[in-house]
């Protein structure tokens, strides 16, 4: 009962969205499936970005450079995959690039105790500059993008089968990462330490936790997840690299993180909502609604974000030590 009333807004929202989807899809199975599948697809990079943000911010470091991490990783992943022809190698390169950028962010903000917002902005601008400078048009993936894997008989279920059990590998990985990170954050020693460092670093230090080490580890790990998000964009969603292809997703991921109250499960729910706002656009176009004024469809996800952040989230409370460089004194 307690749980039920605590999450009642989530249930109300979900119920409304399901009804709205059925309505816009004219109660047809194919269209409903398409909207739901697109929702999941659109939400995947946002969840990954938000998970990166959660890991960083739970340990007390703001990461505004998620956008840059995803862009850099999308580029690294694509270049490696297109020159070796090996997608797995590409994904690995994407993750490695994200981790490297995470380590760099940690070096700037933890070791040098620089301003975290500036450090993140450096990542963003550097990623835009470097990827545009070194990008050559005309490259492609010899093996195509990652292929769909059907999970046996589950994939044959109506609607759900197509939406959840017939996806590409990085999407499955993302779906797996959400509960794993949730468990790690709230049920393991590492998670407790992370949260302790984020809330009260000097207290954590007095009981023998190395604040610097925890922050480094979380930023690198988070970078790897953002890197996975980048690799998802270039190797799984699009199948090529384009200049500025992240298109603000890293920033939307920050909104997703805050909306999800720094909780992986919450962030997943939030990402699905934003993914849905994007997916439903296609449905609007399909139905020919607002066909003459597509701009109003284009701005919907952003208005949804504003309304949600202003209306639902209100004064969400971030980890207490966030944004402050830590020094042992």
């Amino acid at each position: 009962m307690n749980t039920l009333s605590r999450y009642r807004w989530w249930f109300v929202t979900a119920a409304f969205l399901v009804a709205f989807t059925l309505f816009t899809a004219e109660f047809q199975q194919a269209q409903t499936t398409a909207v739901l599948a697109a929702t999941l697809r659109q939400s995947t990079p946002l969840v990954l970005g938000a998970l990166c943000g959660i890991l960083c911010e739970r340990s007390g470091v703001i990461n505004i450079g998620i956008e840059g991490q995803m862009l850099g990783s999308a580029f690294a992943g694509f270049v490696v995959a297109s020159s070796t022809g090996d997608l797995l190698l590409g994904v690995t390169a994407g993750i490695a690039c994200g981790m490297l950028m995470g380590a760099f962010l940690a070096f700037l903000s933890v070791s040098l105790r620089g301003d975290q917002i500036i450090a993140g902005t450096v990542l963003n601008i550097a990623a835009i500059g470097l990827t545009s400078f070194f990008f050559q048009t005309g490259r492609s993936l010899p093996s195509g993008k990652t292929s769909r894997i059907k999970l046996g008989p589950l994939a044959d279920l109506p609607i759900l089968g197509r939406v959840f059990f017939s996806n590409r590998p990085l999407t499955y990985l993302t779906l797996l990462l959400v509960p794993v990170i949730w468990y790690a954050l709230f049920r393991t020693t590492w998670g407790l330490r992370t949260r302790a460092v984020g809330e009260h670093p000097s207290a954590a230090e007095t009981v023998g936790i190395s604040v610097v080490r925890v922050r480094y580890m979380n930023l690198i790990l988070g970078g790897g997840i953002a890197g996975l998000g980048g690799a998802y964009l270039s190797l799984e969603a699009v199948g090529s690299f384009e200049r500025m292809m992240t298109n603000g997703k890293g920033f939307v991921a920050l909104a997703v993180m805050i909306f999800g109250r720094w909780n992986p499960i919450g962030a997943w729910g939030a990402a699905l909502l934003f993914g849905y706002a994007n997916a439903v656009q296609t449905q609007f176009q399909f139905r020919g609604w607002l066909a003459d004024d597509p701009q109003f469809i284009g701005m919907m996800p952003f208005i949804v974000t504003i309304v949600v952040v202003a209306g639902f989230v209100g004064r969400a409370r971030p980890p207490a030590s966030i944004g402050q460089p830590y020094s042992r004194e």
């Binding site: 505004i64 109003f296 209100g314 944004g323």
Partner: protein, 349 residues
């Protein structure tokens, strides 16, 4: 002396960044000296080049001021892009839509309407923060996308010039900001705005209140300052600054509003504000520097075959060196405590 000391870090950062940029150019198999020579030729060698640099620098000054001004209150306005397009479009609409006015009224009127449009757009984020606790980093970014869509729609449906190209009709000559022998006078307006910001922040009670909120909102509240009021007004002014940059661009250079002009200015504003270490007057040299790099970029590509994107890498490097405390401490031989940390108020509602 203190001025020299605080200017030392940015100057050193610029030198280091340009040197690192040279290494990158050399590593990609091109001639760095030739590239920088071409950059100089395109940006500063003659009156035409200088005019182009000032042209590019004008919206950069305004965008940098918008970010720097908001920083002083501890606010991070990433919405410069949205505020700019609103200002540019509104100025363009008044510029062509209102006819029969003398220059002395029409030109300022268009600037004013553009500025107020962007100011209200910026204030929206301030109101959402003050009343609902919505973080301005998120709302301003979202408002950027909304603004781009709205201006696109207004340009293609409401204020469209008949024809195939989606743009507004050319503005009346009475709304133009004239040139003075190839040099854009809009730049003088931007410089004036920088001095006005400096005066407002450093010499008035209101500016004191803004800085108090930026340094410590709790203390400011305790001292009887209404933090909500400051947040809303700061975003209003910040939005107006960015929007005026767009309006000057429309009235002084482009002559009409075209969708997609000046993309990426939001990011540049942040770079410039940080390069200037959020000092309103420091924004002027910072913007001139970036403006010169943008102005010379095409010449560099043409003469030395170096992608103009290299300038973005150099910008990131400058920012990196400016923001690296180790460099600051090494140069100044002390802990620099006088600066506002941008990140300190991330969680404050």
């Amino acid at each position: 002396m203190t001025f020299l000391r605080s200017a030392l870090v940015p100057i050193l950062a610029v030198v280091l960044a340009i040197a690192s940029g040279a290494i990158i150019i050399e590593l990609s198999g091109l001639n760095a000296l030739e590239a920088y020579k071409a950059l100089y030729d395109g940006a500063l060698a003659d009156r035409k080049g200088i005019g182009r640099t000032l042209e590019k620098a004008t919206p950069l000054v305004m965008g940098g001021l918008a970010v720097a001004f908001a920083f002083k209150a501890g606010l991070f306005n990433i919405g410069g892009q949205g505020q700019l397009v609103i200002g540019a479009l509104f100025a363009g609409a008044v510029g062509y839509g209102v006819t029969g006015l003398p220059w002395i009224i029409h030109m300022p009127l268009a600037l004013f309407v553009g500025g107020i449009g962007g100011a209200l757009w910026g204030m929206l984020a301030g109101v959402l923060k003050a009343t609902r606790g919505a973080h301005e980093v998120i709302t301003t970014i979202m408002l950027n996308f909304v603004a781009l869509n709205i201006t696109d729609w207004l340009t293609s449906k409401v204020w469209r010039e008949p024809g195939i190209i989606v743009r507004t009709p050319a503005i009346e000559s009475s709304a133009e900001i004239p040139r003075w022998s190839q040099l854009p006078t809009g730049f003088a307006l931007a410089v004036a705005a920088a001095f006005a910001c400096w005066y407002l922040l450093e010499r008035t009670t209101f500016g004191f209140e803004i800085r108090s909120v930026g340094l410590n909102p709790e203390a400011a509240r305790y001292a009887g300052i209404s933090v909500s009021r400051i947040v809303i007004l700061t975003m209003f002014i910040s939005g107006m600054l960015a929007a005026l940059g767009g309006a000057i661009e429309t009235q002084g250079i482009v002559g009409r509003y075209e969708p997609g002009f000046n993309a990426g200015l939001g990011f540049n504003g942040i770079t410039i504000a940080l390069l200037a270490r959020t000092h309103p007057l420091g924004v002027i040299p910072a913007a001139l520097l970036i403006g010169a790099m943008e102005a010379g970029g095409s010449t560099m590509q043409f003469k030395a075959d170096v992608d103009p994107e290299i300038t973005e890498i150099i910008e990131a490097l400058m920012l990196l060196f400016v923001a690296t405390p180790i460099l600051v401490r090494w140069v100044l031989r002390r802990r620099d405590t006088s600066e506002i940390s941008v990140g300190a108020h991330w969680g404050d509602a």
